[in-house]
Symmetry: C2
Subunit: 478 residues, 2 copies
């Protein structure tokens, strides 16, 4: 019987200390049929690594609460920090098969193959961001497997656990499903098959694969380009922002506003009852009136069913994850409304213009964002994105007004003036953003915002129309 | 009809900008029977405050998942950061009554009055830490209330929501329960009764109370003592640490270890089946062998049922909450095991000695910690705390050994040597800690650790004996 090679353990521990020091995140996946050794092999690895930066996540059949969130939500919540390690005992793969076998969300998800697409998008964007993803598929001699199950059943203390081996996904369905899934995702991050029949041999094989992958990651890390360039990628033209002012009289506004607000409140309840989540994204020039616009949307809503997420610069913790982490872990429960006052689009706006993101990072963000929003829409979310357009003179007027109005002074800072100097850069970044992220499932709605009243009414009407269309498509309300 | 005074809104918003800037956290609670105006009044306040630092938490009847955690868990998870505001729509008060009326965890919680004690402890420790807690109890003219309910029922879109008014806690039970609870907690943070019959008047009253409380908090903030002094509070004597070395031969160890580990694994399943959470806390001198000891406990455990929490210096985010926040939000689900390699006791050890906590802060921490652990034990958790004792010579030997062994070098840093210079200070802090936090529900177990083998066996035996005792008290296993 092969023994576990202590040198391999020490080498692995040492390499993980290095990836930790360099901020490289590592994900290790263990898949395989029940009693194939996943638990024992992952524990072997777990014991070798420093608990300070190692986490363990076991995928279980999703309960009702978890099913109120998108498919990948538990995994976004458990990806490692930069420098951290997460071991996944069963992963998004097993969960995809769980969804399929048990028909989770089958009324919403048109085709479970869309989840395979989500998995590919998820792994690609993490991998592009420097995450090392190591995937093991375990198998074991069938006689040994039966012996292990028998042993568990014999002990009165562990007997109940043996039942777990017999439930969930039928073994052949799991195996066939995994063959397809592994084929589909092999290219992004390769799979390693491990035969667990001989425990020591299996552990050594695992360590060797991990060592190879980590050594490569450490070498690649040196080569990563740190170039930062937010300059124009295309000829500068921004026709789309030419229209800055719809008109609206005070009288008309006063008549429309309460009616639309009442309707929004009714729709909130209707969305809640149908368990449809709604995400409203607000972007636009400084002082374009995002806050006031959002306030008119919120004013009549039931506060227990919505949340406003006002996005500031990322915290130290948020910076230590993939940039989408803080958004992906804060999506609304089904039936709830989440309003983003600024959003993940910061990646291709401020982070691009100010050089907080490297050129490669912001350039690949368009595709990542489209995938992120697609995933939300696959699971039934309504995503509405507003871009509020102000012209440069009107912005100046509002800045100056803020400075002389005592209760508005806090709203204007030196940073606003600095951003104003970069007006053209922000305009171009905004235009690129709209061009690259206007999709069928989450189109941009450009709102002329020189006239605040008109802008508010347009946002309210857009929300109402979009929700009504969805609700009536689902089922007639009366 | 009284109108809402805009000046009060502006003043409130301005004061909250100040508390935000000074890092003062604010909690506002809304209680009252269904349809008494909680939702409308809290939304009024919500709209007045900046979404950047304002959160809203609605207490619902706890679902199965939430009931696997301690009573206060959702609230620990939703206390504001320093400078933040959380509005609680129904709070731990309503939840206490929920527990009682529906008999949640009635097999575990001997007497629901213990939850009132928990509430008092929770509010006291937050309040001592500078949290402003503002509590409103709403009532409303019964005729108006019925009108509001009728209106909700008439609209086909909101009709289903009206049902919520009729379920949950019977109105008279809620009212009587709240009278008692308010009396019990009035002293820690006062309650304000608001009659919502006239909406404008109610809002103005609310703002006036908030303004008064915030002005006081801002004034008090200036007076807070920043004295830092980790010096001895008592005569220095540490008899309790005299015994540093039990003896154990390698042969005896090799025979005992696998047996005890097998038993631990069985007990893990038994605890899981009975849904009993187990918390193991490890403290002790540097190089006392905490990591190796923990490793022997983990080695045979099923990795999906335990977690090791290795505590480092708090992150920026963790520092922006009450110091217990990062522990209270990371307690194990029922039936799981959480191992803390260092713990909340850092407050009265390193934070005291290094002056990271003020004198007042670490001195009141003993009581806070006792309350925190009491709360865990009320809900059935087993809490075992190990203190590993090493003598000063043995520590030197281990430090030196680490420095010459390549695969152990990473374990020894300049900080370890600096801590060693403060040996006596740490010893005294440890002694004070053990004296002040040895309780019936969570006693300290002092483990002589000069001999690693003996220390590991003693820890394993203690865990086994404690768990067996609990399991047999609950129900015979075979």
């Amino acid at each position: 019987m092969t023994k576990i090679d202590e040198q391999l353990q020490l080498k692995t521990a040492e390499l993980v200390r290095q990836t930790n020091a360099l901020g490289i995140p590592v994900m290790v996946i263990f898949e395989g049929i029940p009693a194939s050794g996943k638990s024992r092999l992952s524990n072997e690895l777990l014991l070798t690594l420093d608990a300070k930066y190692t986490n363990f996540y076991a995928t279980k059949r999703p309960d009702e609460e978890l099913l109120r969130y998108p498919f990948l939500y538990p995994y976004w919540n458990n990806i490692p920090k930069k420098g951290g390690v997460t071991l996944f005992f069963r992963s998004w793969y097993a969960q995809k098969l769980d969804y399929e076998v048990h028909g989770y969300k089958k009324d919403i998800i048109k085709d479970y193959e869309l989840l395979t697409q989500e998995i590919k998008g998820f792994e690609s964007m993490l991998s592009d961001d420097g995450y090392v993803i190591i995937k093991f598929y375990l198998s074991v001699n069938e006689q040994k497997r039966q012996e292990h199950i028998e042993q568990t059943k014999k002990n009165p203390l562990t007997r109940w656990k043996a039942q777990e081996y017999e439930t969930n996904i039928p073994i052949d369905v799991y195996q066939d499903g995994m063959v397809n899934l592994m084929k589909a995702t092999e290219e992004i991050a390769p799979w390693t098959h491990i035969d667990y029949t001989e425990r020591g041999k299996a552990a050594n094989e695992m360590y060797e694969v991990i060592i190879k992958r980590l050594e490569k990651a450490l070498k690649d890390k040196e080569k990563i380009s740190d170039e930062r360039n937010g300059k124009f990628t295309e000829d500068f033209e921004t026709d789309m922002f030419e229209d800055t002012s719809d008109d609206m009289s005070k009288a008309e506004y006063k008549e429309l506003l309460p009616k639309l607000q009442e309707r929004i409140r009714e729709l909130q309840y209707a969305l809640y009852e149908r368990k449809i989540p709604l995400m409203l994204v607000y972007e636009g020039m400084d002082a374009a009136g995002k806050g006031g616009n959002i306030k008119r949307v919120r004013e009549s809503l039931d506060p227990s069913g919505y949340e406003v997420n006002a996005i500031s610069a990322p915290t130290e913790t948020e910076l230590s994850y993939h940039y989408l982490w803080r958004f992906a872990t804060d999506v609304p429960r089904s039936g709830h409304i989440e309003i983003f006052d600024r959003s993940w689009y910061g990646r291709v706006l401020v982070e691009r213009v100010e050089g907080f993101a490297t050129t490669k990072e912001w350039q690949r963000a368009y595709d990542e964002i489209n995938k992120f929003e697609k995933a939300l829409s696959i699971e039934g979310a309504i995503v509405i994105k507003f871009f509020l357009v102000l012209d440069k003179d009107e912005q100046l007027k509002r800045f100056e007004e803020r400075q002389v109005t005592p209760e508005k002074q806090w709203k204007i800072t030196d940073e606003d003036w600095r951003n104003r100097e970069k007006w053209d850069l922000y305009l171009e970044a905004s235009k690129d953003m709209i061009n690259h992220t206007t999709t069928e499932h989450a189109p941009w709605v450009i709102i002329p915002a020189n006239n605040k009243r008109a802008a508010r009414i347009k946002a309210l009407k857009t929300i109402i129309a979009t929700c009504e269309e969805r609700l009536w498509n689902v089922k007639k309300l009366w």
